[in-house]
Symmetry: C2
Subunit: 394 residues, 2 copies
């Protein structure tokens, strides 16, 4: 009687959500302070003051109709101009306000971009570990999805497998750097290598292959440089969100940036506008467009995440856990202490540690720790991690 696929999407509880619900139950039983819940990627650090002060300013100074009324479907012109200027100023890249499309967050940026690029029979390549919703969104747009298995040494890119994964049917490849769940930042060298591989494949198959760069964690880095992908590969569509940088994930604000050098940029942008229209995105939330435009490049106080990362890293490695040091995001991706990461996460629950098995992200044997929690929770968890490791060694 209803759409079967959507019904399945609506009823198949995600593993992450199930762990989170378990955490809520556990908090009631043993007290919130005793639960070390690392399951959800919901920022715990307040937005920078400039966010709420911009809201106050807009409400006081801008007319209600201009502030809360429809913007153009692509987004307010002045907002798009500020973003394209920011891209040029910050990354030295070409950009145009006429190729920026404001979205309801990164998820909408991805569903709209995937929809815009899709033609009958197209294939989309994703690189493990990856955010599991990519598959839902690509399948909904119509794509078959090919998964490239992880490069376990560094969580960069398994180039050997990627090479064969890209076929004549491949329309796009999604990358996510800094990466959820591994925290890895793809190095400049690897972006160059990726560009070369895609260019070869384009020449071979005689059609463009688009790189979709999903970048909600761009500013959440601890010293590492995040390459601006369109500077290295012209057929790149950037999907950005202010959710993590400004700690406003609930407000749903982000953008799509089509590079002016992309093959058929105007055509792609028109299809982006059409996809947004067809999926019901009339415009991105207007006030948040204006707030975002005044907060470009700003971040919440991410030194808290850095502190959490460093605390966890030093204790975990000292207690025998293996982990590639993450350069960004607020995730640590550690190797489970037994082959089956699901079983490992079950065992961790005994110590009130709530972790997510890497199987969700296509990287079995690993475990995600979302350390966007209070430093107090991190400190409390350290003995639990040590005890868990001791149990395995006993």
């Amino acid at each position: 009687m209803v759409n079967k696929q959507y019904y399945n999407y609506g009823t198949s509880r995600s593993v992450i959500r199930e762990i989170f619900e378990f955490g809520l139950k556990l908090r009631k039983e043993i007290g919130a302070e005793n639960v070390y819940d690392f399951s959800l990627g919901n920022p715990s650090v307040a937005s920078p003051d400039s966010v709420n002060s911009e809201v106050r300013k807009l409400i006081s100074e801008k007319s209600s109709v201009a502030l809360h009324g429809y913007t153009s479907a692509q987004g307010d012109y002045t907002v798009r101009k500020k973003i394209s200027d920011y891209i040029t100023r910050t990354y030295g890249a070409k950009a145009s306000e006429n190729l920026i499309y404001m979205t309801c967050g990164a998820a909408a940026a991805l569903t709209i971009t995937l929809g815009a690029l899709y033609e009958d029979g197209d294939n989309c390549v994703v690189i493990q570990p990856y955010f599991p919703e990519y598959k839902v969104w690509a399948n909904t747009a119509g794509y078959t999805v090919t998964e490239v298995s992880p490069d376990y040494t560094s969580f960069q890119i398994n180039f050997e497998e990627l090479k064969t994964a890209i076929t004549a049917k491949t329309k796009c490849v999604i990358i996510n750097s800094p990466n959820n769940p591994s925290g890895a930042v793809i190095s400049k060298e690897n972006i160059v290598k990726l560009a070369k591989l895609l260019e070869e494949r384009q020449a071979e198959f005689k059609h463009p292959i688009f790189l979709i760069a999903d970048e909600p964690y761009r500013e959440l880095v601890y010293g590492a440089e995040v390459a601006y992908v369109p500077n290295f590969y012209k057929n790149t569509v950037v999907c950005y969100a202010f959710s993590k940088s400004l700690s406003i994930p609930g407000e749903r604000i982000g953008y799509i940036a089509v590079s002016p050098d992309t093959n058929g940029a105007g055509e792609i942008y028109a299809a982006v506008c059409g996809a947004g229209r067809a999926l019901g995105y009339v415009c991105a939330p207007s006030m948040w467009q204006f707030v975002a435009a005044e907060n470009l490049g700003k971040t919440a106080d991410i030194s808290i995440y850095r502190t959490n990362r460093d605390l966890l890293l030093s204790t975990l490695t000292a207690s025998g856990y293996e982990c590639v040091k993450p350069d960004g995001t607020f995730y640590l991706f550690i190797k489970a202490l037994e082959k089956d990461a699901i079983a490992f996460c079950e065992r961790a629950k005994k110590y009130n540690l709530l972790l997510v098995p890497g199987d969700c992200f296509g990287a079995p044997g690993y475990v995600r720790i979302a350390y966007c929690v209070s430093t107090e929770t991190v400190k409390g968890s350290l003995t639990a991690f040590t005890a868990l490791s001791a149990e395995y060694r006993a």
Copy 2:
């Protein structure tokens, strides 16, 4: 190279948008005060003070993380509870917070509902005159669309044609009362008649036929009573938005209410959740969920719209225009003074009157006047309307 259908949606300029762009040009040439632009349904009345004051309160009192963080995908629980209580209190209808789904406005409510109900080969019936995006959204979900021609005497429902339009393939019928573009409010008698017809057709075809009630104009009425449709027909899904009532169309906030009495209500709600997920709607903008929940039933100062409507109605009917008196919205739907409404609108431009031909809404021969403009603009336009009519009589 891109999705052809989406490309077409992105490049086919809507007639309304073209008229609006012409208006912008004209303003520059002859001054804004001399242009009588009735093309767009963008509210011109400020939001009630309670909207911005609630924003201020939330920003001062609620923690940043609770205010701007993700809510659950269906929407914040307390928000959904307030809405379901409001529905019960106001309309005496059953409602459940577990069957309310918060959306990015009415457009998202419709794309999600249409997607959730769609099964292979389904048909959707729309009643002219209707908001043209319905067809885009229904086609995107997969439906064939059947249009029922207008009841020109009252812009209620052409029941005779509706009866044959509904076939074994029909999964849903969209109604919009108060109606854009006619301003008509479907009478209680006609809702009862519609319910009876749908029940007969359901019994005949042995499957549920859903009524999708698109209600962004529910509170924009001038004395008329708007029936709460689920009280009359149980297989109704209500799609509501706060855009017009609170003058916040840019902020994208609304909801889907599945009635607890609907056949397979739980199943439909699960498919709604799945459709929202698949289309990239992670959650509705969080702060606006909280603002909306504190402004249920409130409206901007709609006495301004009433004044505009009355001024236009009295002058237009005195100058020989024919019009069904609209009970709601901020639209007047007048009969063009020649057979071809497009030609009529072209002629109106000479008087700096910007009107939208009814052809866009499936009602040729008629013209939409969006009077959500300043009363000053309305007053200025009256002599232009009179002169235009005089030209036809000359």
